[in-house]
């Protein structure tokens, strides 16, 4: 048997915490990586996946310690601690860090940062290194002249490309990618995935991709390992993990991820991962597992071969086969999502009149201010973040606003609540014109329109307990006396499935998990009994395993209680699963709007098609080739004619002159002059193909 390129045996990582406790973050992880092979490492946050690759790089913080054996081409890289790790770091193992914004030094040129490791490791002299930097930059799709530019001059996608170039500088044998696509837009995500794919197959490196984003693994890695509570619970070919998982956690993790296939059920995993600062008895997943039996709470399952190429650590696999079968057909938990029927028509509370109507909303931000502008003079330049958006939302309906970052979706939402003042256009809420109200008259209306923010770690006052947070809105609006407020708070907590409320009332935000926090945030909005909820990326900061729970909660509020919901998201799969209608925004305009079915199944605007093609599927067998395009232009320089034409794969000369407007009709509408012609041949543009 040949030696694998990278062989990890019995890797353990501990972190020392204040107060002398210790977190056992990685427990007995084994990993093999062959040359040219790609392995995905997936799991919730806190599952230890990042710790594994940080340990492989020898980049643990000073509170960290590790044990285990890491062999790279037969050589032990960590046996002398930091000293031996330093010699091989970046020379043999290189890394693409999470968050390209922070991985580059802002005061050095990009080129300098790529050259540096080559000089440090003595791989090349200065001239060679400079030449190689040019090659590398061109290889990752950047002009060679980028070497002389500074990180702030590059966009997020370009920076991530530069980081890839930096990782390749010393021709490493192993490339580690830590969440390479998070914090990037869908279109850019697809580009980076393609780039990693190309580069890895061309250079024959071993690649480990760490991500919580299962579709990324499905797209990039033929083999994957699922981590839970610091240990690998299952590993094997990615499609086997997806189609026939042998560990309940793997199955539930895949089920928690929505994709574009409408109608499939999405459910979150109840409970939360175990605390790692105390020993775990039995199976770490047992408390959250609905198939567990006695043995699971006593004996820790070992990772064993369950099929010729699949390893799993679950006692169920040692039982007779008929008893394993339930793993594929078990009952879903209480947090099951709404069935597909909910998409087609709205709940009983639906009424014909729109609750919210935006017409021709414009939002401008001052770009450059003169020295006297604070006196009330008009700033000289503007960014038109929202440029003529018209929308309608009915009661009991969930509308998803979709688009890349910078397309104006958040500004639109803020204009609804007049958190930013629209420069022109009108907002009508329940017949009243919000845009004409004075600040004072606006206050009672604020109660009826509530907002849910993206980051539940930031939107809850850290000093107040759950009762204080939820009660805040009632007190602020002078609603009810003490006992009535109490009743309302409890009811709101029950509606967000935090029951019994007594268990949560006295807790402080830092004592809650991310999902629970977001539920508290929703409860604090619900307590005012709003008629419209505006949710700004409500799950993007949360773990994959709890996202579905929050989204189905919103969906239930919408369809059962008749609350209208406007959900802002960059994630098409989320919108496809939970929304009723979708509005796709591009550079401050709505380019396509319609029901989920119409927009996702039969997109008519080229931009929508591009977006859809960029979403990787969670099923590794579906390999759609995304349409690649350049990065989104800034809203400060809006192209003439159709805003999308410089990036549009279908653009024709007339597109740069004609500014298409949203069709005036009802229903599925699109703003594209070519749409009537394109509709006949949709396959040509999506380029989707199903691998055998």
């Amino acid at each position: 048997m040949s030696q694998p390129l990278l062989r990890v045996r019995g890797l353990n990582v501990w972190y020392e915490l204040r107060g002398r406790t210790e977190v056992h973050a990685v427990r007995d992880v084994d990993l093999d990586l062959d040359e040219g092979e790609r392995v995905g490492l997936v799991g919730e946050s806190g599952s230890g996946k990042t710790s594994v690759i940080m340990a492989l790089m020898g980049l643990l913080p000073s509170t960290g310690s590790l044990s285990g054996e890491v062999l790279l081409s037969g050589e032990r890289t960590l046996e002398r601690g930091e000293r031996s790790a330093r010699a091989s770091r970046w020379r043999h193992t290189a890394m693409v860090f999470q968050g390209a914004m922070n991985a580059l030094n802002p005061v050095k040129t990009v080129g300098w940062q790529i050259i540096e490791p080559m000089l440090v490791h003595g791989v090349a002299d200065k001239g060679q290194a400079t030449r190689r930097t040019h090659e590398l930059l061109e290889r990752v799709g950047l002009p060679g002249a980028t070497a002389r530019r500074y990180p702030h001059e590059l966009s997020g996608g370009m920076r991530q490309r530069a980081c890839v170039a930096m990782a390749l500088a010393c021709r490493p044998k192993v490339l580690l990618a830590d969440e390479p696509t998070t914090a990037l837009d869908v279109v850019i995500q697809a580009q980076i995935i393609e780039l990693l794919d190309d580069v890895a197959s061309e250079l024959g490196m071993g690649v480990i991709v760490v991500t919580h984003d299962l579709p990324v693994v499905a797209r990039l890695c033929p083999r994957a390992a699922v981590m839970y509570a610091g240990e690998v619970v299952e590993s094997g070919p990615t499609d086997a993990l997806f189609h026939s998982p042998r560990h309940p956690y793997t199955k539930r993790l895949f089920e928690a991820v929505p994709d574009l296939s409408l109608g499939e059920e999405v459910s979150s995993i109840p409970g939360s991962p175990p605390q790692l600062d105390r020993p775990i008895v039995g199976c770490s997943f047992a408390p959250r597992c609905d198939l567990g039996f006695e043995r699971c709470t006593v004996e820790r399952p070992r990772l064993r071969l369950v099929t010729p190429d699949q390893l799993a650590a679950c006692h169920l696999n040692e039982m007779p086969s008929e008893q394993v079968a339930p793993a594929s057909s078990h009952e879903l938990g209480p947090q099951q999502s709404e069935p597909d029927a909910a998409h087609a028509t709205c709940g009983p509370a639906t009424r014909r009149d729109p609750l919210l109507r935006l017409s021709e909303i414009q939002v401008k931000y001052a770009l450059r201010r003169g020295p006297w502008d604070w006196l009330g003079r008009r700033p000289r330049e503007y960014v038109r973040a929202v440029d003529g958006v018209s929308l309608e939302v009915r009661r009991g309906e969930m509308l998803a606003l979709i688009g890349e970052s910078g397309c104006g979706k958040t500004s639109t939402a803020q204009a609804i609540l007049r958190l930013v003042e629209p420069a022109s256009g009108t907002v009508e809420f329940d017949g009243a014109e919000v845009t004409r109200l004075t600040r004072r008259a606006l206050r009672p209306l604020r109660r009826r329109v509530q907002m849910i923010y993206q980051d539940p770690y930031d939107s809850l006052d850290p000093r107040l307990n759950v009762r204080g947070i939820v009660e805040d809105g009632l007190v602020a609006n002078r609603l009810g006396d003490r006992s009535e407020r109490n009743v309302r708070v409890r009811r709101a907590l029950e509606r967000v499935e935090l029951s019994p409320p007594e268990r949560y009332l006295e807790r402080l935000p830092h004592e809650l998990s991310g999902g629970q926090r977001q539920r508290v945030a929703i409860a604090s909005a619900l307590v005012l009994e709003p008629e419209l909820l505006v949710a700004d990326e409500p799950v993007s900061m949360l773990d994959v395993s709890v996202r579905a729970g929050i989204l189905s909660l919103l969906s239930r509020l919408c369809h059962e209680d008749g609350t209208a919901v406007v959900m802002i998201t960059h994630d098409l799969s989320t919108a496809a699963h939970f929304a009723d209608r979708v509005a796709v925004m591009y550079l401050g305009r709505v380019v396509e709007i319609g029901t989920v079915r119409e927009v996702i199944r039969a997109p008519r605007h080229p931009y929508t098609k591009v977006l859809l093609s960029a979403v990787p599927d969670r099923d590794p067998c579906v390999r759609a080739r995304p349409i690649l395009l350049g990065e989104a232009p800034s809203a400060a320089m809006i192209p003439s004619g159709c805003r999308f034409h410089p990036r549009c794969p279908m653009a024709e000369p007339t597109c740069s002159e004609l500014d298409p407007q949203l069709e005036p009709a009802k229903g599925h509408r699109v703003a594209c002059t070519l749409a009537p012609r394109l509709q006949t041949a949709p396959a040509a543009v999506t380029g989707a193909e199903v691998a055998p």
């Binding site: 019995g10 353990n12 007995d28 601690g81 604070w374 000093r463 809105g473």
Partner: protein
């Protein structure tokens, strides 16, 4: 930063449940820095001295109890002054005025500075510009000459001295509080309060103030040191309340009655030392508070110490 409510003057103590939190953090901050414990001890000792001064002081401070400029001895530990009054008694009684004026002026400065900083940072825009230009104006005023002028116009009295010092020392506090308020303003929970329909005043008191209160407290304590310094200076210049005994008047008296040419060091040094001790202690406590509350100042994570390698144990060892 996770803030903690404090008993600083304008806090309407909003959250009972966080009290243990603030206490434990304060205790922790003191335990981690012995210097803060020393400062706290010195301040506490002087406060006890000031409160019980009439009972502690061994002699009267209004009538001579010994010879003129008597050197320290068993009966007069710190000697006597130009009138034959016991220096130790003067020092003990004098601590009352110094500490009272120092802390009251600091509270006045904290109230003004805190309010200006909160309003300026929360509302921004034109309000911010006007308030901050005013603050800049107060920062560049040379305080001593202005204090002399105002105190001279208003007439010497304790209340006037407190007001004058307070009115001239709020500017730095306002700047610091404004900066912190601006950053808290961007936090999600403050924006959420806005969408809940909360009034600005309530949002400031309930959500913003508790976040900046610890910083305000640290600033007030640092201002106490400055106020004591200025109070002494004004007394020394003869602008303070002439009837009251304070550390400043002790030194002034010694200076006017030519204590130095008589070799009577005991008429000046003890009062000077007391002032220095209190001021240093205030700085020690204030700094410790600031460090404890400002995570960016704690440098623990910047340690250049590598991770540790552990020997193979248990399962790994038997596998290999």
């Amino acid at each position: 930063m996770i803030g903690l409510p404090t008993s600083s003057p304008e806090v309407v103590s909003p959250a009972r449940e966080t009290r243990p939190n603030w206490l434990s953090r304060a205790v922790n901050a003191v335990r981690k820095r012995p210097s803060a414990a020393v400062g706290l001890f010195v301040i506490a000792a002087f406060v006890v001295l000031a409160v019980f001064a009439p009972w502690i002081s061994p002699y009267s401070t209004s009538s001579p109890t010994g010879p003129i400029y008597a050197a320290p001895s068993a009966s007069h530990w710190l000697g006597t002054n130009s009138l034959g009054i016991d220096e130790l008694s003067l020092l003990i009684v004098g601590s009352r005025i110094s500490l009272l004026v120092g802390s009251c002026a600091a509270v006045v400065a904290g109230l003004i500075g805190g309010t200006v900083g909160l309003v300026s940072g929360y509302f921004g825009g034109a309000v911010d510009v006007v308030l901050m230009r005013t603050t800049d104006f107060f920062i560049v005023i040379p305080p001593i000459p202005l204090m002399i002028v105002i105190a001279a116009v208003w007439g010497p009295s304790l209340g006037h001295i407190i007001l004058v010092i307070g009115l001239l020392l709020w500017a730095t506090t306002a700047r610091v509080i404004r900066a912190q308020t601006k950053s808290v303003r961007q936090r999600g929970f403050v924006k959420r309060a806005e969408t809940l329909g909360e009034r600005s005043a309530r949002t400031i008191v309930r959500h913003v103030l508790p976040q900046v209160a610890p910083l305000l407290l640290a600033n007030v304590i640092l201002t106490v040191a400055l106020s004591i310094f200025y109070e002494t200076a004004l007394d020394f210049l003869g602008i303070g309340d002439p009837t009251a005994v304070s550390w400043g008047t002790i030194i002034q008296n010694a200076f006017l009655e030519t204590a130095t040419s008589n070799g009577a060091w005991w008429a000046i040094v003890p009062a000077g030392l007391a002032i220095a001790l209190v001021i240093i202690s205030c700085y020690l406590v204030g700094q410790a508070l600031e460090d404890a509350l400002n995570p960016r100042l704690s440098g623990g994570y910047l340690l250049v110490r590598p991770w540790k390698l552990r020997p193979l144990t248990g399962r790994e060892a038997e596998d290999l």
